[in-house]
């Protein structure tokens, strides 16, 4: 049985309120926050990027775990804001973590589901016996064009998962993926800010792919939503995950704990995984957790997880961590995002 041995996360301490962004553009902050379901978002500092944040989340994932770092057979780095257009961040990360050198390093991109695709591939390598452990990392310092709707939600964060087949805190009961060519959100080579298809990002994109991947997994395993203690979906804003959960038949109470987007914004590849981190803080042993990511372009990776007894030994305080925050103003935000 493959699964997750340990996890780590990093949320930068700075926040900017939806209202403070809205103020710049002459909009009513309260209305915007309400319509998006996002009140504030996490912002990483000028000297941080997806690599430095990955180092933090990976350090947490590996700290105190009885796995020799040299047994980690793969390091997969998923991001849509990697430090280089050409040059792996996975090797830089592995080097700083002290993972030596007989390992496979791979950088992945697929909008917000780069890392979850990595999880599926890691699962295959572990299941086949080729590797005992793979470190899968999601990290983004997501930028949006000033004055664009995405400006309120694009945020920073990182989650790292050490996957293996023994000593698990989460077992992967099953996993599946649904993909199609759907251009809802993209960024061309050399262009600074992403573009998107407005409302096209909704029904034919986010909703269609998550519903398809999820439904397929329910059917294959003969499960219905009420079998799950928690459900986690990718969170581009505070509304979509609630709506897709409802469409699939989940109750609001099952999704509630995962909705970190309201306070943290959308950290792209780390978004759904951060929701999972939030859930793991409160999850009990022997519970089923449903998880579906979404990446524009488009695809959705769905997982059925089962928690183990071991989870209680390895869970990390999350809610308390989020209380360590400092608010910044708009010019500082632009400076931190290298826009100014």
């Amino acid at each position: 049985m493959i699964g997750i041995v340990s996890y780590g996360f990093y949320v930068p301490e700075f926040r900017i309120k939806t209202e403070d962004i809205a103020l710049q553009w002459g909009k009513n902050g309260k209305d915007v926050a309400l319509s998006l379901g996002v009140h504030e978002k996490a912002v990483s500092s000028l000297d941080e990027d997806s690599l430095t944040m990955a180092f933090e989340s990976s350090s947490m994932a590996l700290s105190g775990i009885p796995v020799d770092r040299n047994r980690i057979g793969g390091v997969f780095f998923g991001s849509e804001s990697p430090p280089y257009a050409v040059n792996p961040a996975s090797t830089i990360l592995a080097e700083f973590l002290g993972i030596e050198k007989q390992y496979l390093a791979t950088d992945l991109q697929f909008a917000c589901k780069a890392a979850t695709g990595g999880m599926m591939m890691a699962g295959g390598l572990i299941e086949s016996g080729r590797m005992s452990h793979v470190l899968v990392v999601a990290s983004d310092k997501a930028t949006a064009k000033p004055h664009d709707a995405l400006e309120y939600t694009a945020s920073s964060g990182s989650v790292s998962l050490l996957m293996g087949k023994e000593d698990l805190i989460l077992e992967v009961v099953d996993m599946g993926s649904f993909s199609s060519d759907t251009p809802d959100f993209w960024r061309r080579e050399g262009i600074r800010y992403p573009s998107h298809g407005g409302r096209f990002t909704g029904k034919p994109s986010y909703f269609h792919h998550i519903i398809q991947s999820s439904a397929a997994l329910f059917k294959k395993n003969g499960l219905t939503p009420d079998a799950f203690a928690h459900a986690v979906f990718h969170m581009p804003n505070g509304k979509f995950p609630k709506q897709v959960g409802q469409s699939l038949g989940f109750k609001p109470g099952q999704i509630k704990t995962s909705l970190i987007v309201e306070q943290l914004g959308n950290s792209y590849t780390a978004s759904a995984l951060m929701g999972l981190v939030s859930v793991l803080e409160v999850a009990k042993p022997g519970e089923l957790i449903f998880f579906a990511s979404y990446g524009s372009g488009a695809g959705s990776d769905a997982f059925i997880f089962r928690t183990t007894q071991k989870l209680s030994e390895r869970k990390h305080p999350f809610k308390k961590e989020l209380k360590q925050k400092k608010y910044i103003d708009y010019p500082t935000y632009l400076r931190f995002m290298n826009i100014l």
């Binding site: 941080e48 350090s59 080097e95 700083f96």
Partner: protein, 100 residues
């Protein structure tokens, strides 16, 4: 001025062992007149830290107001981008410190 990727590579091997270590501040200052490669980040505090095992390291202190910096404060070393490089240079990652 372009930075040699080889120098960055050598340097990164050295700092690997200094990351995620705890120590305390033995002296500090706040830089208002920076060198070229640090203009973007200025003004910024720089500290000299002594780790538990006795080694010492210089580095910037992140996210701390000048009034909150004192000799004796405990810190942890973290990975950050340390220096502005040209847009087609290799990125310089290095050591900074964070209050704990």
């Amino acid at each position: 001025m372009s930075t040699s990727p080889v120098k960055i590579w050598r340097r990164q091997k050295e700092i690997r062992n200094l990351l995620n270590r705890k120590g305390k501040i033995i002296s500090w200052t706040y830089i208002y007149a920076p060198p070229i490669d640090f203009k973007k980040n200025a003004p910024y505090p720089v500290v000299l830290v002594e780790f538990k095992k006795g080694e010492r390291a210089f580095g910037q202190l992140v996210s701390t107001q000048i009034n909150d910096i004192k000799i004796g404060i405990r810190v942890k070393s973290v990975l950050r981008k340390v220096r502005d490089v040209l847009s087609d240079d290799v990125i310089a990652y290095g050591l900074k410190f964070e209050r704990i």
